[in-house]
């Protein structure tokens, strides 16, 4: 056991998965993200916090180029995943999104069966060689999404017929079914009750073993519970970024302190 990781230095020694340098995002004339630099650590949960409208979702959507689908949105700067510039001309956003999964604020299952919802990604990316293969992938994903036991008897039922919390876990299962390396979650619990939230948080904690997870949240407690790193955004600036413990107990910036103690935002 001589090589057991030292908990105190654990996070610092981990690899960097995503590096962003000098990122600027504009919606038409609106300058939504102002010169953000951030390094996101592999196999850890990073949370983005900040008052509404500060650009958390915008920055998150830069990481899988979902902003490309918004006509008026313009992204500048340098964002690399595993050292590769994802905004390079040669990068196909479609392939990038297979590698960088995303879960949205509102559960958005397709109006298809539970099985087909989860099988959607593997199918379009040709991950399964045959039906049996696909069955295995779907089951594994549903188990990862902590929803297998609830739906295993009704895989043919429509995904839209599940409860809100189940739908959100189905969407998480759908996202992990494509075997992404990074999982982006934009307020994944905001539509859920405390029990479903607890389930999803537990799930996020488990996903950390295999994925790099970035989560946007409005709940300080949630950020404190699930994440190792926290980034505080304010009016498009990344004000402070560091260990979650440090951000919540000993913030360096006054704005961060006011926000985490509930005095602004």
């Amino acid at each position: 056991m001589y090589d057991a990781p030292n908990p105190a230095t654990n996070v610092d020694q981990q690899d960097i998965k995503i590096t962003a340098k000098g990122v600027q995002v504009y919606y038409g004339e609106t300058h939504a993200i102002k010169d953000v630099d951030v390094n996101i650590v592999d196999r850890a949960v990073t949370s983005f916090i900040g008052p509404s409208g500060c650009g958390k979702s915008t920055f998150l959507r830069c990481l899988n180029r979902m902003n490309d689908t918004i006509d008026i949105c313009r992204v500048e700067g340098d964002i690399r995943i595993d050292g590769d510039d994802i905004y390079d001309k040669r990068v196909d956003p479609v392939q990038l999104r297979a590698k960088v999964g995303m879960v949205f604020q509102k559960p958005n299952p397709f109006p298809k069966s539970i099985y087909d919802n989860v099988a959607y990604g593997p199918r379009i990316h040709g991950l399964a060689k045959n039906k049996a293969d696909l069955d295995v992938i779907v089951e594994r994903a549903l188990r990862r999404g902590a929803i297998w036991d609830e739906v295993k008897d009704r895989l043919d039922a429509p995904g839209t017929g599940l409860s809100g919390g189940q739908q959100q876990r189905l969407c998480i299962a759908r996202a992990v079914a494509t075997e992404p390396e990074v999982l982006l979650m934009d307020e994944p619990c905001s539509a859920l009750d405390p029990i479903a939230t607890a389930q999803v948080e537990e799930l996020i904690d488990e996903l950390r073993r295999d994925y790099t997870v970035v989560i946007v949240t409005h709940s300080m407690q949630q950020a404190a519970r699930v994440s190792q790193k926290t980034a505080f955004f304010h009016l498009g600036d990344l004000v402070e970024y560091g260990e979650t413990d440090q951000i919540f107990t000993n913030p360096k910036d006054e704005r961060t302190e006011r926000y985490v103690t509930g005095r602004i935002g």
């Binding site: 689908t69 006509d71 999104r97 397709f110 109006p111 298809k112 959607y120 990604g121 379009i124």
Partner: protein
């Protein structure tokens, strides 16, 4: 003179409004709190006068003619009309009326001249009576409304009740019109089937309504077999949908998801213009451009092409339906929530995959509804087929042949000298009934699908 009752009514309503408004304001000026705003007291008076008196005037005008005429007949010297049939009595009535109107032909009998004078007198009486009644009713209602003005009187609720009643009335106008149409159609259709057996109409394969074979045997066997007529409609509608559905759907998909903003802003208005082109213009297009072009093409290929082909009529009808289908499909696609698009794209789907696997299936009920409505438009479409399709009913499904359509037959059956008791004319109603039933079934079906689809996302 004819407008005077309406003028009185209008003035009464305005005066009633002002009186109630003023008295309500006066109460409030005293410092008392009114339940309803002064305006509602005014409106209450105006509506209370307008609605019943207007109804009264319209009813009066509706029955006036009949009442006066029966009075006039009753005043004729006893025995004048004895032994005359209804037709002759009507003729006498018409003659007296035209004399009263100042158009005297020949030298009418004295009793007719006297009757005409009485008719004029009755009409004058009726006018004055109406005016008096309107004035009296209006004044009474204005006074009644004025007497209601009180701090706790619920004028607003009364106004709401009256306007709700008016809205219900307006909403039922369409329903009663439909019921009326159905009744008229059913009646005539019933008469038709007393002359021609239903089985012959539904299953006969020969349609020759124009040629009575013998005087006493108008409904000769086979002459009213509607199968070829319906077959023609089906052929033309099928061609039209074969053109319109794929083109319309692809247009909608392109505009909805792939078209750059600039392209969309050009094509959309053009489609709207296309949707507004009168069908008679499409008819011109079919006979002047499409039909000759088809004939030439057929000649080049060595095909035998009729001059009024089903293809020309159906193809042009298809063009007419393109904007219809594309706007329906566009709406259905736009109604699919953005979150589903994002969900698919975030999984690494291309836009095409997203469209095929997610958007299109989610929109399919709306699209099917639109297509079904297009079907019922296609089978009911008249002008294009009247101009571009043939007149002779043939048992053929060859699109290069000339076929006729149900609507064409209805039009031709009712053109020219028509007596409304011959099977020839009545056949038009039977055809219309069939068409009505077919479109009714399709529309009900389509609307159910569309509604079911709404339930998913709202």
């Amino acid at each position: 003179m004819g407008m005077l009752p309406f003028a009185i009514l209008l003035v009464a309503a305005i005066v009633g409004y002002m009186i109630n408004l003023q008295s309500a304001r006066a109460i409030r000026a005293d410092g008392t709190k009114l339940h309803s705003l002064s305006g509602f007291h005014g409106l209450f008076s105006a509506l209370l006068v307008l609605v019943p008196v207007l109804t009264f005037v319209l009813l009066w005008l509706g029955f006036e003619g009949a009442v006066i005429e029966s009075l006039m007949f009753a005043s004729l010297p006893t025995g004048t009309l004895d032994g005359l049939g209804t037709g002759e009595v009507q003729l006498i009535g018409a003659e007296i009326r035209s004399i009263a109107g100042g158009r005297v032909f020949g030298t009418p009998e004295d009793w007719k001249l006297a009757a005409a004078d009485r008719l004029i007198a009755y009409e004058a009486w009726s006018d004055w009576l109406l005016i008096a009644a309107v004035a009296a009713l209006s004044v009474a209602l204005v006074l009644f409304a004025r007497s209601r003005v009180a701090p706790e009187y619920r004028a607003r609720q009364q106004v709401e009740k009256i306007t709700t009643g008016l809205m219900i009335f307006c909403a039922t106008v369409a329903i009663f019109t439909t019921i009326g149409i159905v009744f008229a159609l059913t009646y005539e259709t019933f008469k038709f089937f007393q002359m021609v057996p239903l089985s012959e109409f539904l299953f006969g394969t020969s349609w020759e309504p124009q040629i009575p074979i013998r005087e006493d045997q108008i409904a000769a066997e086979g002459a009213f077999g509607a199968v070829p007529v319906f077959l023609g409609t089906i052929v033309i509608a099928t061609i039209a949908l074969t053109v319109a559905v794929p083109v319309g759907l692809l247009t909608a998909i392109y505009l909805n998801e792939f078209a750059p903003h600039a392209v969309r802003s050009v094509i959309k208005p053009i489609l709207e213009i296309l949707a507004g082109v009168p069908t008679v213009v499409y008819g011109f297009f079919a006979i002047l451009v499409v039909a000759p072009a088809l004939r030439e093409l057929g000649a080049d290929l060595g095909l035998d092409v009729a001059s009024n082909t089903a293809l020309a009529a159906g193809g042009v009808m298809g063009v007419m339906l393109i904007p219809f289908i594309s706007s329906f499909a566009d709406d259905a696609l736009s109604a699919v929530p953005q979150s589903l698009r994002d969900g698919a794209l975030a999984l690494g789907a291309t836009r095409g995959e997203m469209m095929m696997n997610v958007l299109f299936p989610a929109a399919i009920p709306g699209i099917v509804g639109g297509v079904l409505l297009a079907v019922s438009r296609a089978i009911g479409e008249t002008m294009i087929v009247v101009m571009a399709a043939g007149l002779i009913a043939r048992m053929t499904i060859n699109p290069l042949d000339s076929v006729t359509a149900v609507t064409v037959q209805i039009v031709t059956l009712l053109i020219g000298d028509t007596a409304f008791d011959s099977p020839k004319t009545l056949a038009a109603f039977a055809l219309g009934m069939m068409l009505f039933l077919a479109t009714l079934v399709i529309n009900v079906f389509a609307l159910r699908i569309v509604r079911k689809y709404r339930e998913i996302y709202d």
